[in-house]
Amino acid sequence: MANNRAGRAPARRLNWNDPDVRSVVYQVVALALVGLIGWFLVSNTLHNLSVRNIASGFGFLERESGFAIGESPITFGPENTYGRAVLVGVLNTLRVAVVGIVLATIIGTIIGIARLSKNWLVNKLATVYVEVVRNVPLLLQLFFWYAIITETLPGPRQALNPIPGVFISNRGVKIPTPTDHFAFDLAGIGFLLGIVLAVLVSRWAKKRQDATGQSFPVYRAGIALILGLPILGWLIGGAPLELNVPKLQGFNHVGGATLTPEFAALLAGLVIYTAGFIAEVVRSGIQAVSHGQTEAAAALGLRRNQILRLVVLPQALRIIIPPMTSQYLNLTKNSSLAVAIGYPDIVSIANTTLNQTGQAIEGILIIMAVYLTISISISIFMNWYNKHIALVER
């Protein structure tokens, strides 16, 4: 057989012992099985649907919905279509997910660092927090927060008033909002300007350091700009103190903005739960940076904050970002528990829709499509990030 190498390969007989033949056969069998099962399920489904007189397809999205939604960032009433209802659901899910991710990251990072503290009390308190939160189901925690808000808080007439203008009752949290006065617009411009200037200042400071070796307090300057310019803008506009302050009218407060009990409970539950997991991710990321790195940096004479910023954090972040992103994904998926406490997220709205129209399959497909889109986008970002940031090795 070896003599044939120079010429054509010898003709192959279909031989069961040939691994390639076996591989093809297995794959054909597997695909055929999956295909058969799929055909079986689909034909049953079509039959069952026609027996129950349910149409298939997404045409129902253009019908009038006939139900109201508790809270929504865009206007919605019973005369709007199911399609618009689904949109409201997606927006509500994104709303709670984005705010939740931001808050959970902040709180989780603080608790993660607290777990590494040398202070015994702080360390133990953080540990208790993490252990309790991770070992009790999220659904239970959501019910707990919802119960606290709806059962133990007083009614609107006796609402708690911790800061002037803020009212906390079992109907939610009401906060004052800025009026349309142009001073607040100036403050907004000041904020954006502050961010831009902070970035420019940090670039200029780096150039200067490269050239002369002198350092510049970039962080302090940045904070001064981001906080100071909006205040300046507001002062220039005449320093008005008018806000839309909620006022008690009849049985409830009017004016200002509201955080409903459902949103507040869902947010509190999701943030506190996810922060516990993020704390562990942050802690193990920082611990994974070997102690020798800190020692070598200290031996060079770097100060504690320089060691953290230049040596430890860059390495820790590489380890932290992948599991952190996975926690963000979990938070988004967990927001689906909203249906249990009545917050109108996509699952809750799709559920109502499929109950009303009987279009079960389409409803479930919508839910899965929404979450899959979010998961896949995050996965793609993660893969890109991992490739981009990986430590270069042999």
Binding site: S23, Y26, Q27, A30, L31, V34, L41, N44, T45, H47, N48, L49, V51, S117, K118, N119, W120, L121, V122, L125, E131, V132, R134, N135, V136, P137, L138, L139, L140, F143, F144, A147, I148, E151, T152, K333, N334, S336, L337, V339, A340, V347, N351, L354, A360, I361, G363, I364, I367, M368, Y371, L372, I374, S375, I376, S379
Partner: protein
């Protein structure tokens, strides 16, 4: 200079309780501030909680009015309702059966976690255990009264959903993991699609899918009962996550092991069965325990499709018009149950991890 200088004890200011307090709590101005804040936080939350839970609490009231009069928690509510919460709608006199079933399931889990039992006897033990649980719960044989599974509930149901779920999901997940690493493109693609699809959606959508779509998938006339639907959803969900955990274990086995097995002329299944999987599964036990804890917590979601697990039976107990408004007591009670289970499992898993790691160190 021939003998060793005597070893002296360290100076008093650096060891002992005073040094510990100084070092751990007050070593710098920032630390001192943090300690004060922490102590303030503890004082603000712990004494009121103890006041509510123990001192002002009522343990023995007979009616809810009497209990409400207490300034603290009403534990009499728990005393009154605990059978409902723990066992759901199971007939009152037969509740020793689900209790025994729960004990058997816990024993199965504990045995599986002990390295001493990681051998061929594990599979028969599981089979016998699950059959025993089935016999106890359903009855109808051995003189036991038949109890329909719509009446099962509470803690034993939570344990059944989680344990049976993982038990059946495990071989499924194992096959998915092997398929994902396969070189046959069709099989690899099918497995990847399944795993990524399931991992990308929340468990709730799987439960909805199971409860709403499964009846449509079956030929007319076939019904599938609600509990089974939920169990199938949990099995499918857990299998995808188990697949990823096992895949991590397979990747951790050095290539040399695969090559050694191949060079001995072992077939694929022999290689996997005798060499690779036994090693991979050992590595994988701690993340599997975490997964089990997660599934155990996630069974609480079946409340959404109306199955009477521990969460749902608690919610039902709270709707009794004679005993309204004690949700906090109920949730604290249930949280304690979940916490005890999950915390013990995770602590054990960490101890196991340490023990296994030392076995690998050279």
């Amino acid at each position: 200079m021939a003998s060793v200088t005597e070893s002296l004890p360290p100076p008093r200011s650096t060891t002992g309780p005073i040094a510990w307090v100084r070092e751990r709590l007050f070593s710098s101005p920032l630390n001192t501030v943090l300690t004060i804040l922490a102590v303030w936080l503890i004082l603000m939350t712990v004494p009121p909680f103890i006041e509510w839970a123990l001192i002002g609490a009522n343990f023995t009231a007979a009616t809810s009015q009497e209990c409400r009069a207490a300034s603290g928690a009403c534990w009499a509510f728990i005393a009154e309702k605990h059978r409902l919460m723990l066992f759901g709608l199971y007939p009152f006199n037969e509740q020793w059966r689900p209790a025994l079933a729960a004990v058997i399931l816990v024993a199965l889990i504990v045995l599986t976690c002990m390295p001493r039992f990681w051998n061929k006897t594990l599979l028969p033990i599981w089979v016998v255990g699950i059959i025993a649980v089935g016999v106890l719960m359903w009855g109808g044989v051995l003189g036991l009264q038949y109890v329909e599974n719509t009446n099962w509930g509470g803690l034993p149901l939570t344990l059944i959903l989680a344990t049976v779920g993982i038990a059946f999901a495990f071989p499924f997940g194992l096959l998915l993991a092997l398929g994902r690493r396969s070189r046959m493109p069709a099989i690899k693609t099918l497995c990847i699609m399944y795993i990524e699809l399931i991992r990308g959606v929340p468990l709730i959508s799987m439960l909805f899918m199971a409860s709403v779509m499964l009846p449509l998938f079956l030929p007319e006339g076939f019904t599938i009962d609600k509990l089974l639907r939920a169990q199938i959803a949990i099995i499918m969900f857990a299998a995808a996550y188990i697949a990823e955990v096992v895949r991590g274990g397979l990747q951790a086995i050095p290539k040399g092991q695969y090559e050694g097995a191949d060079s001995l002329g072992l077939s694929y299944w022999q290689k996997m069965g005798f060499i690779i999987l036994p090693q991979a599964l050992k590595v994988v036990i701690p993340p599997m325990v975490s997964l089990f804890i997660a599934v155990f917590k996630d069974t609480s979601l079946v409340v959404i499709i109306g199955i009477y697990d521990l969460m749902q039976s608690t919610k039902v107990a709270l709707t009794d018009p004679l005993w309204r408004g004690f949700s906090i007591e109920a949730y604290v009670f249930v949280s304690a149950i979940y916490f005890i289970f999950c915390y013990s499992m995770s602590k054990y898993s960490r101890a196991l991890e340490d023990r296994l790691a030392t076995g690998h160190k050279r």
